[in-house]
């Protein structure tokens, strides 16, 4: 409503600094997080184990921690950390290869029983036996066997099918999943790392692989859990909506941004325009939702080609390709959706071969409101004059194209009014190489 409060200024300015710094340097991994050193600033990050062998073994510790929110608030959370490393939210993205036997040892440091479920994985064992619901005094208390407080349970399964999956607690799930006990599991196909599935149509550019974990937080629920009080689940009402555990504009910070030390995953997607010779393979976005309602996720700039849902490529019994194109993905609770995405300079405007000024009169910068990510110019790779006093974070004339939930009440934060927070992020389209972008 108030135009001047369009953004959370401080966080957006910091995002600008971090975006440019991270691109200039390869930031080392924050201490304690189990990923390869010097992870890239944007794109999905994998926690792996046993690459190239038949076995992948992970140790997940259920523990508590704190995250920072876009409005400056903090939130008490639970999560799984991997290999004894520090708390992070969301829990680490586990990447394995089709056919590997995956072992997950869950060690519980919380004061309630917890568990891990692997939706979509058949024949999961817990302590060597097929997983079964757990009963306490005749009542069903967990969807799968638990690790008691201070104790362990070991799950095993064979990752038979490639795809994008969720892992999450199966114990008091309405509480524990919302508290943060969830993460993504990616199974890479035997066809190769450049493919999402064992179909050539699932080929993507591995430098542009992105994960979007959709979630929401009710601060009163977290407060009740932290204080050890009961919470009436019927009163559940989210006040914060997140992508990869962060709200806009924090979603734009790079991976491992110091500003959010326990929320390592960026949600900024960074690509180059489609080019038949130099950039022909699309970006892959893996969406995973633990939000308790269907979320209509809408990328601007192009449709996404939905190639798979819930870890299965969309094809019929005869193997015909049933992938379909959407400008809004209606992602349900617990669902995963894989989309391929490109952006192409189809009108020739980006490159300037087709002049915007041939089609419309471009008003003076004094007669327009300029956005904080705008370069001042309609052309890709071009920086131009901004109105006096306007702050822009644009580095090198790149395009910023928004993606957000179209349930626009989710593009907000608790009591923050119209300040562009919540479930949103941007796609950054960099000018074709060589360009003047810092790294």
């Amino acid at each position: 409503m108030q135009s001047l409060k369009l953004f959370k200024w401080t966080n957006w300015r910091l995002a600008a600094v971090l975006v440019s710094v991270a691109v200039a340097l390869s930031l080392p991994a924050a201490p304690g997080l189990a990923v390869a050193p010097n992870p890239p600033p944007f794109g999905m990050l994998c926690t792996t184990n046993g690459s190239g062998t038949p076995y992948a073994a992970f140790t997940l510790t259920a523990l508590s921690g704190t995250i920072s929110l876009s409005d400056g608030n903090t939130m008490y959370m639970w999560g799984y950390s991997e290999g004894g490393h520090v708390f992070q939210h969301p829990s680490p993205t586990l990447c394995v290869t089709q056919g590997q036997t995956v072992t997950v040892v869950l060690h519980n440091t919380l004061n309630v029983p917890v568990s891990v479920m692997f939706p979509g994985q058949p024949d999961v064992l817990a302590n060597g036996r097929p997983v079964q619901p757990e009963y306490t005094a005749g009542a069903l208390t967990s969807l799968v066997p638990t690790a008691p407080p201070g104790g362990d349970v070991t799950y095993d399964f064979v990752a038979k099918e490639p795809g994008t999956y969720l892992y999450e607690s199966g114990t008091d799930a309405a509480t524990q999943v919302q508290m943060g006990l969830f993460g993504a599991l990616v199974v890479r196909p035997t066809l190769g790392v450049n493919y999402a599935y064992n179909r050539t149509e699932s080929r993507f550019n591995p430098a542009t692989e992105f994960l979007m974990e959709l979630s929401a937080i009710d601060p009163y629920q977290h407060q009740a859990v932290q204080a050890g009080r009961a919470f009436d689940i019927r009163q559940f009402r989210p006040r914060y909506w997140m992508l990869n555990g962060r709200s806009l504009p924090d979603t734009l910070y790079p991976n491992y941004a110091p500003l959010s030390p326990f929320q390592p995953y960026s949600a900024l997607a960074r690509i180059h325009p489609y080019d038949a010779a130099t950039n022909q393979w699309p970006a892959l976005t893996r969406h995973v939702s633990v939000t308790p309602v269907d979320v209509p996720f809408h990328p601007h700039g192009n449709n996404g080609l939905v190639i798979a849902r819930d870890g299965r490529y969309l094809q019929d019994g005869a193997g015909n390709n049933l992938a379909y194109s959407k400008f809004s993905m209606d992602i349900g609770p617990g669902q995963t959706w894989d989309t391929l995405y490109t952006w192409a300079d189809i009108d020739g405007f980006a490159s300037g071969t087709h002049k915007v000024s041939d089609e419309v009169t471009i008003p003076s910068e004094l007669n327009l409101t300029y956005g904080m990510l705008y370069s001042g110019s309609p052309y890709l790779g071009d920086l131009a004059a901004m109105p006096p006093g306007t702050f822009s974070m644009n580095a090198c004339g790149e395009y910023y194209i928004i993606s957000h939930s179209h349930a626009l009440n989710q593009v907000t934060a608790w009591g923050q009014g119209l300040t562009m927070q919540g479930m949103g992020t941007f796609l950054r389209v960099d000018p074709p190489l060589p360009n003047s972008c810092p790294n």
Partner: protein, 443 residues
Amino acid sequence: MANYLNTRRVNRRDFLKLGGGVAVGLTSASLLSGSALARTLLQPADIAPSRGPAQRAPLGVPTPDLYLAGTDGWVCLAPTVSIPPYHPDSFAPAPFTTYIFGFRNVTGMTADQVQAQKGRGQITAPIIGTDEGHDFRINLTNVGLLQRPDLFDSHTFHWHGFRNAIPFFDGEPIGSVSVPVDRDLTYYYHPRDPGTYLYHCHFEDSEHVHMGMTGCVYVRPAQNGGGYRYAYNGLLPTDPLSTSYDREFVIVLTDVWAEIHWGDAHIQLADWSDYVPDFFLMNRRLYPDTLAPNGGLTDSSGDLIAPSGHPELQYQPISSLIQCNAGDRVLLRMVNLSYLEQSMTLTGIPMRVVGKDATYLRGQDGVTDLTYTTDCVTFNAGESTDAIFVAPPHTGGGYDTYLLYNRNYDRLNSGGGAGLGGQMTEIRVWATGTLGPQTVPNT
């Protein structure tokens, strides 16, 4: 370059087809010049009628095809329902109840007339029809908010779903530009993908979309012609699976949270995380107003003329009444610009879903038919659905009535008031040959 809108001549029969409002409309219309007549005829429905090969001015930029203004206004929703202190709004002039933001079609108006539309926004915004392969330019003027002189919000035009847009024409304010008060900007598109899209203001869109700056834009396929219209290029009318149609109706689904509309009029800011809608609207009206005639004609000042017999619907000009002859193929272009998932059910007539999100339901081989038959389509905010039904047989006088409504029964009321309300409309099937050809949507 010729302004295509103004080349069309208008006659009495065309006005009759706008469904009511005949006497008033004709009287006013006869005082207008030819170009203004053409523009008003096309309110609130089809803005850019099918046209021939694209033309370009040899020098200078072409003039826009459509001029929209963004402003605020007042509309009428369930005046007997009380949601104190929010509804009816104590600031609302009679016969209105609810404060809104809206677009208006101001094509052909003088600068003074455009300014005179401040505070006269309409919801839903004008229906926009464009053609595959033809440039389309829309100029947006920000006229300001009459009720809120303290609020200097900019506006944008976001064509939701337009593929490969550049940010400058995408209308998303952070990544590009927006239109300040008393300024204007022209957006350019070269549509390549037929189908049904949405458009809305994207400036502080949680508010501006909810307040009413939303509409439907669609792209007619290049295959149109020879007396046939299609939703998508592909099968010819001889094939029962073709997307040819005889009549089309745009159905825009939205909702209203009374507190936030009241808050914008009374300079109060509600917490958006408290969002809980009170009303569920179809083309921004509540049943049975959804059946009321179209408005959309304008008077000499440019102000909207209310639909006949419905002064309270002056700024809600788009009807949802679906009328057809037995055997007609009817295309429903349904878009959801509420913040909730909706399930629209058509009783008694199966419909074939041919497109979603402006994408023809065909396999990636371009041939395999993936259209399907159903009686209920579910789609969430920001999605569109194209469905075609064939009107069942009817003989004799009068019409048969079928219903299109939201299967979420708790939304089939108007603010909790007695009786049916909300997102419901009727499909009236007449005997073959009763109704003449349709020339604009929702008539």
